[in-house]
């Protein structure tokens, strides 16, 4: 036990003694790990936030089906759907996108009483009349919109809206650049009457399959799609896997450049230490003890590098709002997203990062150290 402690302390001293090498290896580890940890944290954060909002949302999502895709659904069966046993509430929505000047915003048309709970006005009030809107706080800040201001928007129709409230939502990103408006105004704006992009159905637990059967009867020959929470959840997860995939692909390129650097730097200097190993062997050190010492050194340096990388990743997310990385995961954001990123630093990715660093430094150093400690001491002494 004392022996291993001694070796651990010596490993620490050696890292201090070979300071330049320690710093170089550390920098390489940090350069590789920081973007990785940042990306995972952002992705995890957004994923969990999306899943939360799916969970808090409706039980069933009804749309019509065109070419196997979700399409707008007519409102003509609204009353019949409402009457199905087990349906507690239905919410028709129009969710669309439109430019407010140069900025793409998400437009939600919804009846006043159906505005989702997490959306709360931080100033002003909820819309009452036609052509009144509430806007997300980030959007309001961006365009310097205040209560009572008017702005015009053009999609299919040009309409002039009055800001009556500014809201924030728990789920930071989604609410940040949204505009909520009365259902019919959104219909006008997009030039569609009597349709919703989807109808959300809230149901009593355990009634989903009966509701589905009744809907089948109602829609007869019309193509419609009914999706439940689990499916939506799956879509969200799949979407993230895709985005993570895109990021990984780019990241692999970066790693391909960074890994040789770690390998070289962690092995480099060991040849310079070959003589040191020879001296150790000549004075009675066992090969295993030498290898243990070098492994400890790599362990410590990986731990140090990974810890710094995690701290930097946290700074990146908190201080620089995930610049350059967040846009992989959130569509249409500028370099510095101007809202709090929902990042989650889970222990597993941090551990994986550390393990990855350890693996790399070990791979880089193990061969040369093994060579140095297994050749006869005379040979290492001569170098």
């Amino acid at each position: 036990m004392h022996k291993h402690l001694n070796l651990l302390f010596l490993a620490t001293e050696n890292l201090l003694r070979h300071r330049t090498k320690t710093v170089v290896v550390c920098l390489c580890i940090i350069a590789i790990l920081t973007p990785f940890i940042t990306a995972i944290a952002i992705s995890e954060g957004i994923r969990s936030q999306s899943l939360n909002s799916v969970n808090a949302g409706a039980d069933l999502y009804l749309t019509s089906d065109e070419f196997g895709r979700n399409a707008a659904i007519s409102l003509k069966y609204l009353d019949e759907i409402k009457k199905i046993f087990g349906v507690t509430k239905i919410v028709p929505r129009i969710v669309g996108r439109g430019f407010l000047q140069n900025k793409l915003t998400v437009i939600v048309g919804i009846h006043k009483e159906d505005i989702p709970e997490p959306v709360t006005c931080i100033s002003g009030r909820v819309f009452e009349n036609t052509n009144e809107v509430i806007v997300g706080h980030e959007l309001a800040k961006y365009f310097h919109l205040n209560i009572g201001d008017q702005f015009s928007m053009r999609c299919q129709q040009r309409k002039v809206f009055t800001v009556v409230g500014i809201f924030s939502a728990d789920s930071g990103i989604w609410g940040a650049s949204m505009i909520f408006m009365p259902f019919n105004d959104a219909g006008d704006l997009f030039g569609k009457e009597n349709v919703a992009t989807d109808i959300q159905i809230y149901s009593l637990p355990g009634h989903n399959s009966e509701i589905a059967t009744d809907l089948y009867d109602i829609f007869q020959n019309e193509a419609y799609r009914l999706q439940d929470k689990q499916m939506i959840e799956l879509y969200v997860k799949k979407g993230f896997m895709l985005k993570e995939g895109v990021f990984s692909a780019l990241y692999i390129v970066a790693i391909a450049l960074g890994v040789p650097a770690i390998l070289v730097t962690s092995g480099f200097g060991l040849s310079e230490r070959k003589k040191e190993v020879g001296i150790m062997k000549a004075t009675g050190w066992q090969t295993l003890e030498v290898l243990e010492l070098i492994s400890f050194e790599q362990l410590l340096i990986s731990l140090l590098g990974a810890t710094i990388a995690i701290v930097l990743a946290i700074l990146w997310v908190r201080g620089f709002r995930g610049a350059f990385i967040a846009q992989f995961f959130i569509a249409e954001i500028t370099m510095l997203p101007n809202f709090a990123l929902p990042a989650r630093f889970l222990p597993l990715p941090c551990f994986i990062s550390f393990f990855f660093a350890f693996l790399l430094t070990m791979v880089g150093s193990i061969y040369s150290s093994w060579r140095a400690s297994t050749v006869s001491p005379v040979v290492s002494l001569q170098s």
Binding site: F9, G284, W285, L381
Partner: protein
């Protein structure tokens, strides 16, 4: 105590550039003997001492230690022998750069699990004995050759070895320190240590029990 049987070592074996560093070396060294191998440079002294000291393996022949044939021992057993029985002193000191004197001296004790305090105390004891009590925290770069060699001797003694192998210990240092080292070796001999010294000069001959004259890899 130490015996060799037809010990041979060739470099570049089986090639046209084969160098026979030593051949057919037969020596028999009794316990507590002071043995000097004297010969010109290139005569195979270092090669012989390295093989006897388990730092290298012979091409042919055998080495016996306490009547046990050690040539066939594993590397692990060799390392254990070096740790428990043998202390080395080299011509060019072989100290670890940037480590202080006492750290260099105590380095072999680290894998033995000995505590920092005890390591320091033991290193201090031997360094004071070598007259370096005021150089405990100097690094090799801050010491003269003679001082470095005395640090190396303190390191060789730290495990209380039964055998000291010194390869031209005085070749790179001043006469005054050489005299000091000579005196110290005599002291070690009185304490029962077996000492093997390689040298090309005559200074050890007056205290040696046996002198082997070496030339071209053979003992004359």
């Amino acid at each position: 105590m130490i015996r060799t049987e037809n010990l041979c070592k060739s470099y570049g074996h089986h090639s046209q550039y084969e160098v026979r560093a030593i051949h057919d070396i037969n020596v028999n060294i009794a316990k507590n003997c002071f043995v000097v191998f004297r010969g010109p440079s290139g005569s195979g002294k270092t090669t012989l001492l390295n093989i006897i000291g388990t730092l290298d393996r012979p091409t042919a022949g055998k080495v016996f230690l306490y009547d046990k044939e050690i040539t066939s021992f594993s590397d692990i057993a060799f390392a254990r022998l070096r740790r428990e029985k043998i202390g080395f002193i080299f011509q060019n000191f072989h100290l670890i750069p940037r480590l202080t004197s006492w750290e260099n001296v105590a380095y072999p004790l680290i894998p033995l699990g000995i505590s920092l305090k005890e390591r320091f105390e033991r290193a201090q004891f031997f360094l004071e004995k070598m007259g370096l009590g005021d150089r405990l925290s100097h690094t090799p770069e801050e010491l003269s050759g003679g001082q470095q060699q005395r640090v190396a001797i303190a390191r060789a003694m730290i495990n209380d070895p039964e055998i000291i192998i010194a390869d031209e210990p005085t070749s790179n240092i001043d006469e005054e320190t050489s005299a000091h080292i000579l005196q110290y070796f005599e002291e070690l001999k009185i304490r029962g240590v077996t000492i093997l010294v390689a040298t090309h000069s005559a200074i050890f001959e007056k205290i040696a029990d046996t002198v082997y004259k070496m030339k071209n890899g053979r003992i004359e």
